[in-house]
């Protein structure tokens, strides 16, 4: 009887049902317009302004600003910082995810919370922490002076504080991924006689490579772009301890706008490359997940 009443439904009923499952066309249009105008005002205009201001005096002035000695020194320091920081935090992320995802131990949730801690600390406070540790009046200050070592207002301070602010990126990407994958495949490899390293390189690494890349991309973007924390420990010595974001600030405060926006435009390009790489990795992950799903169906 129920089946009969289902098939005998009048047509107007189903169109009414469809109406109840989506919004009228004008509401849809209005919502899409609101979302796009919001993004235009808050995201796209600032981005466009960076490139427009950088090229305001023409491409010659733009290139000249980028070729300056201090600008090149800032670019070198930013690259150096990223080259040191990213591998360390990537290695840490892999080690932490291996321990957390493949083994059971007490205090696991506490450990995960502690790894996330740097995200809860304001960049400026992160800088302050390292000044309190290594500054003149700091914990290790007197010892550093007596050994003629300089951390604050020098490159080691910049590297340390960048390690701190980008600390969780790779780990927080890998931990949930490896937890979801479990330890069965690795277990099988070990039982079949593979050693620890071989198991990691042949079984684990191929499974996590996209997640790892994703974390590295985000970690690198933050390492190159960090401003507040680095600003506190750098001392703003031109040509020596200015990273690219700090050099942007110095130029801007000297009213050298074309040069400031020229260096800023390089960082904006880095951001766009980061977004593109991120989208690619996301697309790739979905793709491999789908392939794996289909493969499982076929076997």
């Amino acid at each position: 009887m129920q089946a009969a009443s289902m098939t005998n439904r009048p047509n107007c009923r189903s169109s009414g049902r469809r109406r109840a499952l989506t919004e009228p066309a004008w509401v849809r249009g209005l919502l899409i317009a609101a979302a796009l105008v919001f993004l235009l005002l808050f995201l796209m205009l600032p981005l466009a302004a960076v490139f427009a201001q950088a090229l305001e005096k023409g491409i010659g002035a733009y290139l000249h600003a980028l070729g300056e000695r201090d600008a090149l020194a800032a670019i070198r320091l930013t690259l150096l910082t990223a080259v040191i920081v990213v591998p360390f935090n990537a290695a840490f992320g892999i080690a932490a995810a291996w321990a957390i995802a493949k083994f059971e131990f007490r205090g696991k949730n506490l450990l995960i919370s502690l790894i996330d801690l740097p995200f809860a600390v304001s960049p400026v406070v992160s800088g302050l922490i390292f000044v309190l540790l290594f500054g003149l009046q700091g914990w290790l200050g007197p010892w550093l002076i007596s050994h003629d070592l300089k951390v604050i207002f020098a490159i080691p301070g910049i590297v340390l504080v960048t390690l701190f602010v980008t600390f969780p990126f790779v780990a927080r990407e890998l931990i949930p991924l490896m937890q979801a994958q479990g330890a069965d495949e690795e277990g099988a490899a070990v039982v079949l006689g593979a050693g620890g390293w071989k198991t990691f390189l042949r079984v684990t690494l191929p499974n996590i490579k996209w997640g790892l890349l994703y974390g590295i991309i985000l970690c690198n973007a933050r390492a190159m772009g960090e401003f507040g924390a680095v600003s506190v420990v750098s001392g703003h010595i031109r040509g020596l301890t200015n990273t690219m974001p700090l050099h942007v600030e110095v130029l801007y405060n000297e009213y050298n706008f074309v040069a400031a926006f020229a260096v800023a435009s390089l960082l904006a390009l880095l951001a766009l490359v980061t977004l593109a790489a991120k989208s690619f990795v996301e697309w790739k992950t979905q793709h491999t997940a789908q392939d794996a799903g289909e493969g499982a169906l076929h076997t």
């Binding site: 979302a35 932490a96 131990f105 000044v131 198991t199 973007a221 951001a271």
Partner: protein, 280 residues
């Protein structure tokens, strides 16, 4: 303690992985944070109280908390609209728009910072239209609000989007076939389902805004008592080698962000419990 009890596993490598994890975590995060605790312990409380509640500091908290709240609320509203539009509708350049939402995560804050005066100063692209209307944005709290909305923009979209995408269409169909109008379905069925994610995104956006420095300092003008945010005051005190003053303000801000983090964890626990109950 961590790692003392470990159930048997055939996999090797627990000890080195765990050892490196704990060592590196201690060196990079825990010992430096201990330096802050050590400095805090050496403050005497009347002195701490005097610094943390001086008029200039109080007005910086008011601006920081007020503008962060306004920014997070703006992001809650438009974040839900954006997530909804991205999940439910189809429109040109949708994938591009989706990818662009993450721009504030990728764009260095100093770059966003110097672009805002270029837009909102009296000669800027937008400022030149707003200023004659009696609505100056640059060097006012309004400018701080815009900067803090920018930095917190992705959070609500990225927390609400997956929840909306995973929602079972059957629930909505059931509500509709039971006679609920569209608005009633949204209010009574969809909204409660996304509320925990929305609150989490709101809190994350608020916490991020509270600590933000780089994108704000260029557009705010940094006038004491008027457009000075709390993180800027920390930097100012450090530049004067006033470590004690900087630490006192930092402790207040750190306590606020830990409270928010705690609230987010509570929210997630509550929403998980909620989910279990409604499914079982």
């Amino acid at each position: 303690m961590i790692g003392l009890i470990r159930r048997h596993s055939v996999l090797p490598g627990f000890a080195p992985a765990m050892g490196f994890t704990v060592l590196y975590l201690s060196l990079v995060v825990l010992i430096p944070l201990a330096a802050l605790a050590w400095k805090a312990a050496s403050l005497d409380w009347p002195q701490f109280w005097r610094i943390a509640t001086s008029p200039r500091v109080l007005s910086s908290y008011r601006l920081s908390f007020g503008a962060s709240l306004a920014g997070a609320m703006t992001n809650a509203l438009f974040g839900v609209i954006l997530a909804w539009v991205l999940v439910r509708y189809r429109f040109p350049f949708q994938r591009l728009v989706d990818a662009l939402v993450d721009l504030p995560f990728a764009l260095p804050t100093a770059v966003a910072g110097i672009s805002l005066p270029a837009l909102y100063a009296s000669t800027g692209w937008i400022g030149r239209w707003l200023e004659p209307l009696g609505l100056p944005v640059a060097f006012t709290p309004l400018g701080v609000w815009i900067a803090l909305t920018f930095v917190g923009l992705p959070f609500v979209v990225r927390t609400v989007q997956p929840v909306l995408a995973d929602l079972d269409a059957e629930i909505e169909e059931a509500a509709a076939s039971l006679g609920a109008g569209r608005w009633q379905t949204i209010r009574r069925v969809l909204f409660p389902a996304i509320l925990p994610a929305l609150l989490t995104g709101f809190a994350l956006s608020f916490a991020r805004a509270l600590g933000e420095y780089g994108s704000v300092v260029f557009i705010s003008g940094n006038m004491p008592m008027r457009t000075e945010i709390a993180p800027l005051l920390i930097v100012t005190k450090l530049e004067q080698y006033d470590y004690t003053g900087a630490t006192a303000i930092a402790l207040v801000m750190l306590a606020a962000s830990f409270l928010i983090l705690f609230a987010i964890n509570g929210l997630q626990w509550w929403s998980r419990r909620h989910e279990v109950r409604s499914h079982g």
